[in-house]
Symmetry: C2
Subunit: 304 residues, 2 copies
């Protein structure tokens, strides 16, 4: 293991699942959460809990809401002075800026497991939730190579290494914009107050709204925290919907637009990384752009 003594700050769905995985692997892990009920629930399944971060930790995983992470950074960094700080939130630019402001950039690496459910809280955490997922890892002044090894080895993850701003743009596209569209669709059907609509809803509506109408504050935070990257994507979607709207009366143009979407679908839905052995992780991480890393049968593998 890259890190031997971990603290997980915030035992919600993600932090709780992460702690359960580490416990299952026999790693020394302490769960830190301000909520007595959450600490009790974590202790009840055998996790070690604490109210503050122990000073002997070599890794502190920050799994709290973004505003809590930003507020707690100096205190956590001081409590465990030798620890690497890894946050697992869905937006990275704000955390990088906060680390920079506190002189902690060399101790911080952003990580973001692309997994979750529409539920939240420790009650829904499982040791398997984050295993086998893609994990974004952001490049910066911190120990990126160590954190890449940690996510690959601990979670059987494919690490997607990229710049902080590139991360925030990518998740705006594939996670935050889908949440806006899902809530907009559910909202427009609610507003229509059409007694037939609910009874006629089939698969396209259910799938298109699955992530909508859940914990509104969690969704609000996710969207607002990434406003800088999400705003332009929503602008693009508005323009695109206006095109579709006009082309309802232009069958040739509408067919052309839909055919173009269909033609490009596989590249987005089924990207095919070309894996090859990675002999030098530091050199691989020094290259700009997006780099994928995973553990293959014969060792670390790379795709770019």
């Amino acid at each position: 293991m890259t890190y031997r003594r971990t603290a997980v700050v915030g035992a919600g769905l993600i932090g709780g699942s992460l702690a359960l995985r580490l416990r299952d692997l026999g790693v020394d892990v302490v769960v830190v959460d301000p909520d007595p009920g959450t600490r009790a629930a974590a202790a009840a399944v055998g996790l070690v809990v604490a109210e503050t971060v122990p000073g002997d930790r070599d890794l502190v995983v920050l799994a709290a809401p973004l505003d809590v992470i930003v507020a707690a950074l100096p205190e956590v960094a001081a409590a465990a002075p030798d620890a690497v700080l890894v946050d697992v939130g869905s937006v990275k630019g704000t955390v990088r800026d906060a680390c920079r402001a506190h002189g902690l950039e060399h101790r911080w690496v952003g990580a973001h497991p692309m997994a979750g459910t529409e539920r939240s809280g420790f009650a829904h955490a499982t040791a398997s939730l984050l295993v086998g997922a893609s994990w974004a890892v952001t490049r910066g002044a911190g120990p990126v190579a160590d954190v890449v090894r940690w996510v690959v080895d601990t979670f059987d993850a494919t690490a997607v290494v990229l710049d902080t701003d590139a991360h925030d743009r990518a998740v705006a596209l594939v996670s935050h914009a889908p949440h806006v569209l899902a809530n907009a669709l559910l909202g427009v059907v609610e507003d229509a107050a059409d007694p037939a609509a609910a009874h006629l809803a089939a698969g396209s509506f259910r799938d298109g709204t699955r992530v909508a109408g859940r914990d509104p504050l969690r969704t609000r935070n996710m969207l607002a925290d990434n406003a800088a990257a999400l705003g332009p994507v929503l602008d693009d979607l508005v323009v695109l919907l206006q095109h579709y709207r006009r082309e309802l009366d232009d069958r040739a143009a509408l067919a052309e637009r839909l055919a173009s979407v269909t033609a490009g679908a596989d590249a987005v839905r089924r990207p095919e990384p070309g894996w090859r052995p990675c002999a030098d992780l530091d050199a691989a991480l020094a290259a700009p752009g997006t780099t994928l890393l995973r553990r293959g049968p014969s060792g670390l593998e790379l795709s770019r």
Copy 2:
């Protein structure tokens, strides 16, 4: 059975599934399709096929694309002069107008099974696809009560009886708008050409785009055929997305909007019909608004 000698015109996913169900129930059914390959495939699984509608039919189900239905109406009606005409397409106003133009309104009832897959064609048809689904049935001058009994008894369906225009508005909301949003989302991610986005896509993107990037002509027809009802829904969605976009920088307003969506979600996702016995189907169908009908343990049941 309400009808004893059925013809199904168009053996695609829906028409083929419908014919297979009727065959399994022992109903005399003839499949009419212009494509020799489709007729051969239908014959290969034991269906009776023909190139034209036999004159002895008491029910003709029109399961072809909308433009084919509209073009074929007079010929089909003349070929089977005693048959009730039921179309199973996803848009009803255009069919009603065509029936009216040909003096066939008293012979026509619109039916629309709210089931399907992202696949199309007879090769994907199954006897179970349309069973247990909600079926919209449109009220008009035709024998609505007979068609309600037919869908309830043949497909173990919940019949959602409503006016033609109300049908087209409802499916614009819960079926056609979701298809536009899904294609817009997939398209915006393709256009971004972001190498990280595809690798970071998780559940919200997969669900939000499941129905996108499929058979573009089928989707084009579905959307353009319902332009009159779908246009205003897309207008509403554009306005709504512009609100979300502005509120990315107004956390209180965004939280309020999302909380309102969450508060209204159950009414749309889990409508709870209050079922009661239906003693007089004709009287039930004469009432305005949306009426639900199904077969309960003790007979026909009604919800309004």
